[in-house]
Amino acid sequence: MIFELDVLILLLLIPAAVMALQIRDLLAASMAFGIYSFLMCLLWAEMGAVDVAFTEAAVGAGVSAVFLIATVYCTKRKSSD
């Protein structure tokens, strides 16, 4: 429980989340989503929920990012909205 580290991670988390939503380039957005997942993973680990952190790392930052990229490659790169 290091409060400062918490705050740091949380502060990074918000821009990552906003970025994942707002970027028009889908590939970059999925990257941002990966960053978000990784930060969440850090947060879980820091909070002592190692199991959750592990899952987040494996699923969120790992496989999800791969799926997203695989999907983006089959679509237009830019989001229309």
Binding site: M1, M47, G48, V50, D51, A53, F54, T55, A58, V59, G62, V63, V66, F67, A70, T71, Y73, C74, D81
Partner: protein
């Protein structure tokens, strides 16, 4: 317009959540050991009695796979559904959709394939380790399954999907996904046939060779269901990747 509306909604939800935690007397502090969730008889029971009940040191695993094993079974079903759903929605039978992603004629890169040749077995062993070691350290079927699935995805990325499918075909993937659930629910059924409730693994010590006590039976029962979870997760991860990266054609692709 819609975006602004969404922003307002998000903001309102944020305010609401903040209102929920704002009252210091009401909302337990960060990591407070006396918070209701931590001090409740349930948490105390998990902390004190997990080892007695099932010989599993990692109580997270015990909660997941035993106390609330039924949840986990349906989480596995959720994964299974995801696989089947993406298969059902995306899979096309005829190869008339345009090829996407990289060029199929490319030779796989020698450096990459060599590294992968080295790494894939290691990853798979690590996946099994995560699975088996889940009883005493973080890990378990889901994580192990994802890692195992990633190893197949790595093959598909490094060579191409056809190579990966040669090792783990599409039908085999679906079959393994279903098999995982059958393994999981089968443990439950087995305990039911011995007259206990569904998923009461304790009774399976009558079934498993070399297991004397109900506690050890719970221990091994958990391992068994985690294996089931791993089967499902591995194959579904691979299946999803294959379908997504090829627009459902299940050949060529990235």
């Amino acid at each position: 317009m819609m975006k602004k509306l969404a922003g307002i909604v998000v903001f309102m939800v944020g305010l609401l959540l903040f209102y929920g935690v704002s009252n210091v007397d009401d909302f337990p502090g960060w990591g407070d050991p006396d918070s209701p969730a931590n001090a409740s008889p349930l948490s105390q029971y998990f902390i004190t009695d997990t080892i007695k009940d099932s010989e599993v040191p990692n109580m997270v695993t015990a909660v997941l796979a035993d106390y609330r094993g039924y949840d986990t079974m349906f989480e596995t079903v959720v994964i299974f559904i995801a696989g089947i759903a993406i298969f059902a929605v995306v899979r096309v039978s005829r190869n008339n959709s345009p090829v996407c992603g990289g060029n199929k004629d490319d030779e796989p890169d020698l450096i990459i394939t060599t590294t992968c040749r080295l790494l894939v077995p290691v990853i798979q062993i690590f996946a099994l380790y995560v699975l088996a070691h889940g009883h005493s350290s973080p890990g378990g079927g889901f994580q192990g399954g994802v890692i195992m699935g990633a190893s197949f995805i790595l093959v598909a990325v490094a060579w191409d999907l056809d190579t990966a499918l040669g090792r783990f075909s599409e039908k085999a993937a679906i079959a393994c996904a279903g098999l995982g659930i059958i393994i999981y629910a089968g443990f439950g059924l087995a305990s039911m046939f011995y007259g206990e409730e569904f998923l009461n693994y304790g009774i399976t010590h009558k079934l498993l060779p070399g297991v004397e006590s109900p506690e050890m039976a719970r221990y091994y029962g958990m391992l068994g269901v985690e294996v089931g979870v791993m089967f499902t997760v591995t194959s579904v991860m691979f299946l999803i990747y294959g379908l997504l990266s090829t627009r459902g054609r299940m050949s060529g692709g990235l």
